[in-house]
Symmetry: C2
Subunit: 544 residues, 2 copies
């Protein structure tokens, strides 16, 4: 029996047309060097049609890819809206990838046109000669008259000013009907092994993810909100905040390239956003700043925080000293990205809620999760059993774009590579990455828990723990430790420090003291480098 319902696709074109009409009076505020600039959603809607016409005039047809190499600002929002709405595919390029990775992803996606922020023209020009499919570059921002485009022009590609092409274009565009499963946007992971891998979002997945972000179990976004995406729009869709904001008429506040604590705090105080989203490092910097410079950030009803675990100490400090509530979320490029909501269960006291706030949140409606052990067995959701988290749902990827990676998928589920527990209510608590967990004698030892405990020692600045091969136990933990300048600590002291919190068999029995922990392009510990250095004999290891 078929339903009698109309068959109307979920599409970003509809989302854009709706949001820029029903909420024409909402606005996107963009930070500038010395203040802000504001554009209404109504004006954004008209400029989106101009951009679509301009891109069509440059030859963009069908599902060709248009890249963006931009900060968070009104123009990037216009690109987010225009490109999928015209039927083309938005490719948000991560400006923090290594140059050879940027070239790789642009060539792999076969970007035809790239919109580049004027402030990024120089680094982009250096890579452009290697980009084989890019015919046109649009240089964006309002003040590009002053921008020096000579380095871009020297590449011989067609270089145009974004504002010029918009001005020349019509405000009417015949938005096409799309199949909701067609590609709308793509984003490459910044994987630490091998080349970046592409995830291709559909109109359906982006629309459903936007709806979820607006729901009361998640961020609960509505027309009363002013949303500040600190998380970059070149990184996992800025957690879907821009699309969700347009769908429900929430205004946006964009930090552009001013992501340091001081200008961010100034922006928050001036524009009074109600919701923000960003990684813990940034809000750690913000905390440091506002502890020293009295500030009022209480316009924020919540700060969505993810990308890596948010220390409870940071959350408590922001709440106790500044009335700012962190709400953790967990996800990745492969999950659109938001897969959980950090709201604690209802009915708990503030103190009882803290263990939930410290974890990675509850799986959202629409995202199924399961826990898989080392031998592929399905583990219970009891908050005790530790395994790899696998997820499934309409905004979870089932493959990579033109790139086989069968190890990342199992029976239609995405293997997230994150290891931890799931409780009976679907709350996830992560303890490690699957590739970093130390498999010792059939048991798993969490490298992250050892690192956090080591970094709790007053003389330890940083510590990374990796598994090293062991004939008897398969793997054993090696602790690599950065000691505070001027201090000296011994392995024995550190073992004693850990002994109260860990079983004896979990303690590291190999130690090395280093100057700094190597990091990836996105600032995470690069344990691959550490393991290679150990294998090459490049570390001075003490046993015991």
């Amino acid at each position: 029996m078929r339903s009698t319902m109309q068959d109307v696709p979920l599409s970003l074109g509809r989302l854009m047309q709706y949001g820029t009409t029903a909420y024409a009076d909402a606005s996107v505020v963009t930070a500038t060097a010395d203040g802000t600039r504001t554009r209404s959603y109504g004006e954004v809607g008209r400029r989106v049609a101009r951009l679509a016409n301009a891109l069509r005039d440059l030859g963009i047809t069908g599902d060709e890819r248009v890249g963006t190499f931009m900060w968070n600002n009104a123009e990037h929002l216009e690109a987010y809206l225009a490109i999928p709405s015209m039927g083309a595919v938005l490719h948000t390029i991560n400006i923090r990838l290594f140059p050879e990775q940027v070239v790789y992803v642009v060539n792999h996606a076969e970007d035809r046109v790239v919109i580049v922020d004027a402030s990024l023209a120089e680094p982009f020009a250096a890579m452009l000669p290697e980009m084989t499919t890019v015919t046109h570059v649009l240089v964006a921002r309002p003040d590009t008259e002053q921008a020096d485009l000579s380095s871009l022009e020297a590449t011989g590609r067609t270089i145009l000013r974004y504002e010029d092409v918009l001005e020349a274009a019509s405000e009417d565009f015949a938005w096409p009907e799309v199949d909701e499963r067609d590609a709308a946007a793509m984003c490459y992971t910044s994987g630490t092994t091998g080349n970046p891998k592409g995830v291709v979002y559909s109109h359906r997945s982006a629309y459903l993810h936007s709806m979820s972000m607006a729901m009361g179990d998640n961020a609960g976004m509505g027309p009363d909100d002013r949303v500040l995406p600190v998380v970059p729009m070149f990184h996992a869709n800025a957690w879907g905040l821009p699309y969700a904001a347009v769908l429900v008429g929430a205004s946006l506040v964009m930090p552009d390239r001013w992501l340091q604590a001081e200008p961010l705090v100034r922006l928050i105080q001036e524009t009074r956003p109600t919701l923000a989203g960003g990684v813990p490092t940034i809000f750690n910097d913000v905390l440091g700043w506002i502890d020293e410079h009295p500030s009022d950030l209480r316009s924020l009803r919540a700060v969505l925080c993810g990308g890596s675990a948010v220390p409870e100490s940071l959350q408590r400090a922001l709440w106790d000293r500044h009335g700012v509530r962190i709400q953790q979320a967990w996800g990745m490029t492969e999950t659109s990205p938001v897969a959980t909501s950090g709201k604690p269960p209802v009915g708990l006291s503030d103190e009882e809620a803290w263990p939930y706030r410290a974890g990675q949140g509850r799986l959202l409606g629409g995202v199924e999760g399961r826990l898989v052990g080392g031998d592929g067995e399905i583990l219970p959701h009891d908050g005790e059993a530790v395994g790899e988290v696998e997820v499934r749902g309409p905004w979870i990827t089932g493959a990579y774009y033109l790139d086989d990676d069968p190890e990342k998928f199992r029976d239609g589920w995405l293997r997230t590579g994150d290891v931890g527990t799931i409780d009976r209510q679907g709350f996830i608590t992560l303890t490690d990455r699957a590739k970093d967990v130390i498999k010792s004698g059939g048991e798993w030892i969490s490298s992250v828990e050892l690192e956090n405990a080591l970094m709790g020692h007053p003389d330890v600045v940083e510590a990374a723990v990796v598994g090293i091969p062991d004939e008897k136990w398969q793997e054993r933990p090696l602790a690599t430790v950065v000691v505070r300048s001027g201090a000296t600590v011994t392995p024995e002291e550190l073992r004693d420090h850990l002994a109260g919190s860990f079983a004896k068999w979990q303690l590291p029995d190999a130690w090395t003291f280093i100057d700094a922990v190597p990091r990836t392009s996105v600032g995470k510990f690069d344990k691959k480098v550490l393991r290679r250095r150990y294998a090459d004999g490049g570390l001075d290891v003490q046993h015991g």
Copy 2:
């Protein structure tokens, strides 16, 4: 270019499994004669599996229809969840239809099993002999040991007690995968002309509608909410509140058959819901009660109100005297039903917001609207042009079940039969029903506006205005007026009363005084009867 996203269907089975697990501690509270009874969502989930097994044992396979003839209570929620989740189709039968209409819809839907509330056993038994496809009746509620089933048993069909079959059934059910466009539920309109017509909801439409109800631009439902659906679950899915509540873990408060002001107010004070939904008549009764009996209903952050226009005076009285905020919504069985949200635009003063609260609300994301004039021309959304509202979207019906009615659809849009304006932000203000609007000399005269103005006269109890044929003008307004007992008014006095608010050509030029306005089975003015009485010469008409 296809996306890499997983192809996971939206389904009520997933919604049910998620909500009863992630929010196992949420609960459904049901009113009883002398208090309430409470069941956790976890327990609901286990009973839902038992119900599905029981229905399977009774022979329900594939997409067979299972009817419900029930009040709002925990057992009706279980039926809502179990029947679509097992792949069958839930048919909520409107207990307020005329008996011949109930028989018609049950036979038209070919219901195999009907779950009947014990308190409705007698009236159902009287109709059961005419129901040709029903083989089994389950009699529901916890206290059915005391229920007298003899009238049902006398029909010769198999009569079972709901609790008995649940007890005998297993708690494990292998929930099937469904196509999201397959039928999940159906509901018949209570149309005043001809037979009721069936609308068949899909898993997709019900899931998307639930997501919308939880979004911040709409009701914003979340786990912190306790939701009181006063609107019956046999009427347009109780506005989708039950499914949305389960999806986001909001608890439910069910009034069962105690829908009078006094027990409702007691229930609200005892269970402290945060959100309610119902028709204006009920909340008008509630207002009358709490004006006389000091009560605290301020646990309600909003009351969704629709089904007919909500007078501003009622809204203001509830807000000014009791701190209860009405939020209008507009829709119909054909629109799942919620199509608008009555939240005023942000940034207005309380006084500036009133004209928006008095209208029918803003079209939701996902629901497109257009305004069509008498000659089929598309009218501007300027808040001035008056036409019929047509809508389109993934939870709007595109047909009736096994019933052609081409006049209700145009180019893939649903003709709602509601006449009014749409403004530039998508706010709808209705002035009439298309079939009741008076077409006079190429202009439209709103019968509703005339009625409201007439009923503002101190001596008028009720007034209904209908169009009567006119050779020169095509139609002219006839006012049918019920005068306060003991009072006398003349057509001249009423014309004078109207003259300040209407152009001269809009004033009625035919008048009749009657004892009562005839009403339909759902309590609306039955203008069809009035027009027929006029045509038959059964009205004593004064001209002038």
